[in-house]
Subunit: 326 residues, 3 copies
């Protein structure tokens, strides 16, 4: 019997989403954390060297379906060598540009308040917004006085939207944590440009009574830009934690077809509470409201279609769920 750790999360929620005047009630999930089943292990090779693997499958509790129909091990599929030099990690994994903002979204990029809805690839076919296939990453070791860094590369394998180069540097000391990440993805060219670029500065400070966390990011491709600012707070309250965030998304530039995106701005305000029944099990509720400016079409996930033309209709969502870890 080998030394394998089996782990997972099951997260299910009742969700109600209103897009303009359309509403949808559903049994949904992934409101606090994404449902998953994983297997991981580490082998000590001696001399400080270790080999490890990590396989993580995402699924939807409400229907029993895979999160990603094409990739069973969609969340992570990696082999690592680690030691005093740090870690070399190979396979499908998060991109540093994703963790660079997701680590500083107080809602953990999950549920109705998910900040990921504003993480635009600007119409490109970049397949690196969250994770990348074929990723080769190096992580610095943990003993650099609070400093940590990651560089990642993925080859194109002759498929547009796959080639990625990125990195992240971060520093943590006591209550403070700051991070800067940058990445670029080679996409199908438009207007002579084939690089989708993303930069994000994130940080958090724990005051004890409350923890402030947030980021500012900028995505750029050809003439298009999207800037996002996210500021959140989490406050320990009773047997749980109160969470709130405010996000602004500011689009600019013209598409290759000449459409002006300046009016595609939006903001979101969200509030939630997590009540811990134990370390592994929690009840939670979140409410989020996306205010779309005239041309913007951001929506709370798991909802009905936005009315078309949208003309600045809002998207509102609330969920109430149960998250259990094992």
């Amino acid at each position: 019997q080998s030394n394998v750790t089996l782990f997972g999360v099951v997260d299910v929620a009742a969700r109600h989403v209103k897009n303009g005047d359309n509403t949808l009630r559903s049994l949904s999930g992934n409101g606090l954390n994404s449902s998953r089943l994983g297997f991981r292990g580490v082998e000590d090779l001696g001399g400080g060297l270790k080999a490890g693997f990590w396989l993580e499958h995402g699924f939807n509790v409400d229907t029993g379906t895979q999160s990603d129909a094409a990739r069973f091990w969609n969340r992570r599929s990696t082999v690592s060598l680690s030691g005093g030099f740090g870690e070399l990690r190979l396979g499908r994994d998060f991109t540093p540009t994703y963790t660079g903002f997701a680590d500083y979204d107080v809602f953990g990029t999950n549920g109705v308040a998910d900040a990921g809805k504003f993480n635009s690839v600007l119409g490109t076919n970049a397949d690196t917004a969250t994770r990348s296939d074929n990723e080769v990453s190096y992580f610095t070791p943990g003993n650099l006085g609070g400093f940590r860094a990651q560089v990642s590369f993925a080859p194109s394998e002759k498929v547009a939207g796959k080639k990625y180069m990125g990195g992240r540097v971060a520093y943590g000391a006591g209550p403070l944590d700051v991070s800067l990440a940058y990445g670029q993805t080679t996409v199908t060219p438009s207007a002579g440009e084939d690089k989708y670029k993303f930069v994000v500065l994130g940080g958090s400070y724990d005051f004890g009574v409350a923890k402030l966390t947030g980021y500012v990011s900028q995505a750029e491709f050809a003439n298009l830009e999207m800037q996002v600012a996210n500021i959140g707070v989490q406050v320990p309250l009773g047997q749980g934690i109160l969470r709130a965030s405010y996000i602004r998304a500011d689009a600019s530039g013209r598409t290759a077809a000449g459409a002006n995106t300046e009016n595609n701005d939006a903001n979101q305000i969200a509030l939630g509470y997590v009540y811990n029944l134990s370390k592994r099990t929690a009840l939670y509720t979140t409410v989020a409201r996306v205010n779309n400016k005239a041309g913007a079409t951001f929506v709370v996930s798991g909802g009905p279609a936005l009315p078309s033309p949208n003309n600045g209709k809002d998207s509102t969502g609330v969920d109430f769920g149960l998250r259990h870890s094992f």
Copy 2:
């Protein structure tokens, strides 16, 4: 390492099915129980409250394929909170109308004698005949003097055939067990009707030398009806159990297109033996014969096409298999 139970069934069988004059020999499976791999766990939250999860994947041993190409965790994918109040269970699971008859089929709705072949949705798109996605169920606690009940609800999520409401009440005392279940599914309308309804009364009585078990059910949609009566017996015999059942299916009414279904009746007679090599491992054989009236086209699963037009051809099947649980 978390407290997770890994469990499963592997069931493989040689099967021979004859439909009219067409025959098919196959390596098949699921003749005694459905093959599956599952993970489940329970956490004690204190104060009598428990959280639990259950993930169960169905597959075919003969080919290594998923039972349900679209849902990996097709058999069950649920999170539960349970306590003195009973159990609240959320996710994909059996419907109470399915367990309401399946619990009283002496062949456990598996193999050549499976009673499920007569469980008609009357041409509707009801996706609730066996299980339902997005199900919210409440189960009564186990200390109600033999009485138990379940109510279940699934939202439509704007998809026809998904919205379900149903429930089941049952009573068990010593050798006796009786159950009544009712459910309705909202389907694509026909002839002004959008409710597919199913009601089933089941029961069993254990005389010691033999256990009688059976049910009567009625499915109804617009002008169509299907009534099924199933009576079975199981007799402990040597290191195993002898099983036999007789099923009558009685169709009535006209389809929206005006076709008369009155002649689509059928009956099935089946006999089988399960030889236990251990508590976990058994050899089994079953033979079943479906006698189709003129317009009926019921068949033993895993067989060749029925001749067309069928004109009352029979379907006969036999399997011989091995079931191993872990």
Copy 3:
């Protein structure tokens, strides 16, 4: 908690393949062993009888995808009864004609040097080149003085390319191992013939300082033939093993369309080294060059398209990888 063994392999590699003038760099895998996750168990039934199951899923570490999109448990899905009589094994598994050559490929039919690229089904739809669905196999017990044999059968289930009958006899004593395997698959008929036949003679001899291993095989269908000879050597060297092989593939006969295949010959030379970091973890590198004669189109897997018309362009590949077992 049941007595189940969880096991697996994660194998990832950087690979560079050149086909004619086309090149492709990739993060790939399965260079030393195929990545897999499996569950298996054995139950002692008493009296020397045992029941067992084996479920084995193949995947690609680089992308998290299934190896076989249609079959999750593509590598093996079997139930067994075993005892003094040998083993009866039912389900999806290797064919004896596959293990009959794969056991004698010094590169284990994996990676850039994989001998499987020459294992032609001669344009038929035989689905038995590596594994067979619905396989019923008998294996002799292990106490026959070095002699072992397997016979296997799979029914057609009315699908061309599925019906298989084959067997293998082998003898091992000290440093010597020899094996003869034969199988035939019933395929869609062409030129009045519906049997694809494959025969292979393999052997190995361990001299201590080096182990020689190889096989000769012949595939035959209607007027077509493919003969393959593979000779390999493995030499313990330092903390690892040096591997080299030379393969010749000799095509002959005409296709049903009248095309002459005489010129579709090829040979491959390959060299590799496996460096063991532990019993479970290894670094490896392999380089292979396929020399295609005028009409041949054999390629190292995971590469770009061959130029078309190919006109005898070569395929060259090199990988450098990490294999971890658990």
